[in-house]
């Protein structure tokens, strides 16, 4: 249905944003690319008093590398993320994630900051930044905060953002790592029934700091501690992959949803674990 009646204000800079937010108080709803928020208006799932448009705030733009981190501005659109050379070099997991996010027309508008702030449990980017051990940089009238991605997603559609606080950027530590993302969706571009974003290092033939992060199977991105531990320090081979798959049952507590019961989601997660981890092996090492 048509969107509800509401106000609209556009902030030109961060100081301007703080004054607009102070003026509108709890009636204010930040809008960036709007690809989720505007759809929720059509469903009347939200009825904001005033939309506060942040898309023209220059401080929230840009992708750069400095002091050992890749910094991605919150207003970076998915399409920009997907074609950026610095992202492809330093965080190819994000480059790989972009084609999985909705459709081209939506990727041209949706932003990384919006995706993280909305915190849909089936979205790709929240899982990716947890897998990459990123830091979410927030901004508010009170100043900047830096929140580890693993602490940022607190519950279903809930984040550590305070009222009046926005995401300014995401910082990803530069590191040599292997990473991959895969998901199972009913149709291309749909939200995933289950997905896995994984990152790990292999040093001296051993897995170091594996981070298996599942999406679409919980209230947010799920960092699978036991499955990750089953890989740590071991050679990546059929036995350790099977151990990770076995341990996964303890990590996941998927809710039943439209797609099927919890056990189906666990099954999909195990399948994805095999696909992703086998993808890190040389072809000759993959168990038949």
């Amino acid at each position: 249905m048509k969107w509800p009646a509401m106000g609209y204000a556009r902030a030109a800079s961060l100081p301007d944003l703080w004054s607009v937010l102070a003026q509108h108080g709890s009636a204010a709803q930040i809008i960036a690319g709007g690809q989720t928020l505007l759809a929720t208006l059509a469903f009347r799932l939200s009825e904001p008093g005033t939309l506060v448009d942040i898309t023209r705030i220059p401080e929230l733009r840009g992708i750069s590398v400095s002091s050992g981190v890749l910094r991605i501005g919150a207003l970076t659109r998915h399409a920009e993320l997907g074609r950026d050379a610095l992202v492809a070099r330093h965080a190819p997991l994000l480059t790989a994630a972009v084609p999985l996010i909705a459709h081209p027309a939506i990727r041209n508008r949706g932003t990384i900051g919006g995706s993280l702030a909305y915190a849909d449990p089936a979205a790709e980017l929240p899982a990716c930044i947890v897998a990459l051990d990123a830091v979410v940089v927030t901004a508010s009238a009170a100043g900047e905060r830096r929140i580890p991605a693993r602490d940022f997603f607190t519950d279903l559609l809930q984040t550590a953002l305070n009222p009046g606080e926005i995401i300014a950027a995401v910082e990803i530590p530069l590191a040599e790592r292997r990473s991959a993302i895969q998901e199972v969706a009913r149709r291309s571009g749909d939200y995933a029934m289950a997905g896995l974003a994984a990152a790990l290092r292999i040093e001296g033939g051993r897995v170091v700091a594996p981070r298996l992060v599942y999406f679409g199977v919980g209230t947010g991105p799920v960092l699978a501690a036991r499955a990750s531990a089953a890989l740590e320090g071991r050679a990546l081979d059929a036995a350790s992959i099977a151990a990770a798959q076995a341990a996964l049952g303890e990590d996941l507590d998927p809710p039943q949803d439209l797609h099927g019961p919890p056990e189906m989601k666990r099954h999909l997660a195990r399948v994805l674990t095999g696909r992703v981890l086998n993808g890190f092996l040389n072809p000759s090492e993959i168990a038949a």
Binding site: M1, K2, W3, P4, A5, M6, G7, Y8, A9, R10, V20, Q23, I31, G34, Q35, L38, A39, A42, F43, G49, T50, L51, D53, T55, A79, P99, A102, H103, P104, A105, I106, N108, R109, R187, S188, G189
Partner: protein
């Protein structure tokens, strides 16, 4: 009070009373347009109801069907997921403008030849998205996207009819014809260069 003071003051006054209307000035199909719009107006209703450009269709109105696909600042977007109020200064191209420009005349001819309209409701959006495939294929230079790649790109325009075989056929025909034309242009280039060198 200077003109810029007045402007600044009127902007902040507008904001403070939560105005029902926003003034936007933008380009639509090459023409400058200035209107006052309610914040609840999405781009498709703005085009259809305020400007009378009814080629872009309002289908699902929550971002799923793609019948409302238009270009904003050169990129395809969902018109139903864009606030008209946010478009001050934007450059919008609809199916009317794209069609009039001749940019997709070959694609449209192939849609007719292949009978690719299906029920027809999705067609304007399909043409807008297919034009995006053609533009990206030209940017990427060389190579014709596969049918799977065409389907992937069109996946955001799936509506109700199902199938889309004829649509994929029409897009594929256009890609191949343009690719062939580009190849023969390339072959023509050395001749051009040598004739210039000889001058």
């Amino acid at each position: 009070m200077t003109a810029s003071d007045r402007e600044h003051r009127s902007a902040s006054e507008e904001r403070s009373v939560n105005p029902p209307q926003q003034r936007i000035s933008l380009t639509v199909n090459g023409e400058r347009v200035t209107r006052h719009v309610e914040p609840r107006r999405h781009l498709i209703d703005f085009l259809r109801l305020d400007l009378g450009l009814t080629g872009s269709h309002a289908g699902c109105e929550h971002g799923v069907c793609g019948a409302c696909t238009v270009r904003v600042d050169g990129e395809i977007v969902r018109g139903c997921l864009v606030l008209a109020a946010s478009l001050d200064g934007a450059d919008v191209v609809t199916i009317e403008g794209l069609s009039d420009s001749g940019e997709v005349a070959d694609l449209q001819a192939n849609f007719v030849a292949r009978n690719a309209a299906q029920c027809g409701f999705c067609t304007p959006g399909m043409i807008m998205t297919a034009a995006d495939i053609l533009a990206h294929a030209e940017e990427a230079g060389g190579g014709t996207p596969s049918r799977a790649e065409i389907r992937e790109h069109l996946s955001g325009n799936y509506c109700r009819c199902t199938g889309y075989q004829a649509i994929v056929d029409a897009v594929e025909d256009t890609l191949k014809a343009r690719h062939l034309a580009a190849d023969s242009d390339l072959r023509a280039v050395p001749a051009l260069q040598s004739s210039e060198a000889s001058r």
